[in-house]
Symmetry: C2
Subunit: 268 residues, 2 copies
Amino acid sequence: MNESGYVHGYTSRECHRLTEQANILSELLHHDTMFAPGTLVLECGCGTGAQTVFLASRNPGARIVSVDVSAASLEQARGRVAAAGHRNVEFLEADIFELPFPDALFDHVFLCFVLEHLSQPAAALTAVKRVLRQDGTITAIEGDHGSWYSYPQTPESSRAVQCLIDVQARLGGDSLIGRRLYPLLAAAGFRDVQVSPRMVYVDHSRPELVEGFSRNTFIAMVEGVRDQAISLGLIGQPAWDKGIADLYRATESDGTFCYTFFKATGTR
Amino acid sequence: MNESGYVHGYTSRECHRLTEQANILSELLHHDTMFAPGTLVLECGCGTGAQTVFLASRNPGARIVSVDVSAASLEQARGRVAAAGHRNVEFLEADIFELPFPDALFDHVFLCFVLEHLSQPAAALTAVKRVLRQDGTITAIEGDHGSWYSYPQTPESSRAVQCLIDVQARLGGDSLIGRRLYPLLAAAGFRDVQVSPRMVYVDHSRPELVEGFSRNTFIAMVEGVRDQAISLGLIGQPAWDKGIADLYRATESDGTFCYTFFKATGTR
């Protein structure tokens, strides 16, 4: 994936969204991401470091090498991790398909919201497996936009979400990849593959999730593909506007919102 | 709801399916259904007693009154509970909308897979609230067929599942009710409403769920509406056959299957 192929773009609103998402989901996704002191971890596709800060803070004894294909994102990640006071992360510009490391170097490989953007996720898993030692482990975390549903839900809100799925597919990604993690890891030859779904359920009794997840993470992500969806002819302006309005409608006091992330682990 | 309006019918295969479902899901749905000794519990819509046996066995000190609109189902429920050796359940033929009990009699009302079949679930909640004492509590458990997705998933497998949703809707039910439990209970005037989703995630590492849930619970339920779906013109025979075959395809070794139940509690 080159920079122009990243569905969510590189705007400052997007950076804010990624940070919000990482904060609100940190406990859900990362509470059980723990490495023994001395573990050498490769984080592939760290982006602006939204997940890196959690990896680093939860695992102060681990040595983390975080790589990304975007030099600009890496610069932001460096700043973010330094600002948080972590000294156990090194950053490196690298392509996941051409990792500049010897075979079997790492104890663990960590991928979060990366495989969904790649046209060849299976090949990516094979590439990272090369730099993982025998009996080393992998963590892959992905969402699945097809896991979204809400109350109320309308044909237009469903269509708006489908636009996000379709735009990502046009860019070569697969935003329905959460449900595929088990077969992907198994086919890449990892053993003891375990997948644990992490469902985000939002209703009015959970106002921090209404704001932090439904509005500022999920709907913001859908809104982010507006121009592409309309210019690709996937949807017209009136249907789009109603779809977005209907998504916000499901965040009102009698609405509910559901989405599921998947966390997979495996052993080389 | 009268007997003819029950989407799943009253066949022996359906009775077997309900039992299989109850066994495989017992821990997931009922592990936290616990009542103090002496609690007087009303179970509405007990059917053939598939859930009643778990209520009774987990709460030997509770006194349970189980009602259903079908005399034939009650007869099976009586036999099932007696065979399991439980003596803390009484059965009574009754309509949820005309419960033959004085106001505020019960400490707890329990509903499992009942509201989804009613054309007036809100009115049903108001009706059961009448027989619940002040500060008494309610549990409502429902599935949500719109929460299903799988890998692989095809237009035909999606359509077959949509037939189940549509047939149930034609009969006046709402099989997407899981996501609606929060607003339904809140609108009925229950306070401290808490909804906890219970997701069933199935892959090849969980063979008991492949058999017990994906095949013998969910796909069996879809297959159960075949004749109605075809005679109502919702789908043609070839598309139906491919849909069912594709659902089974997702239970093979590289397939995954997802479904979510919702458990809601509230206080009067």
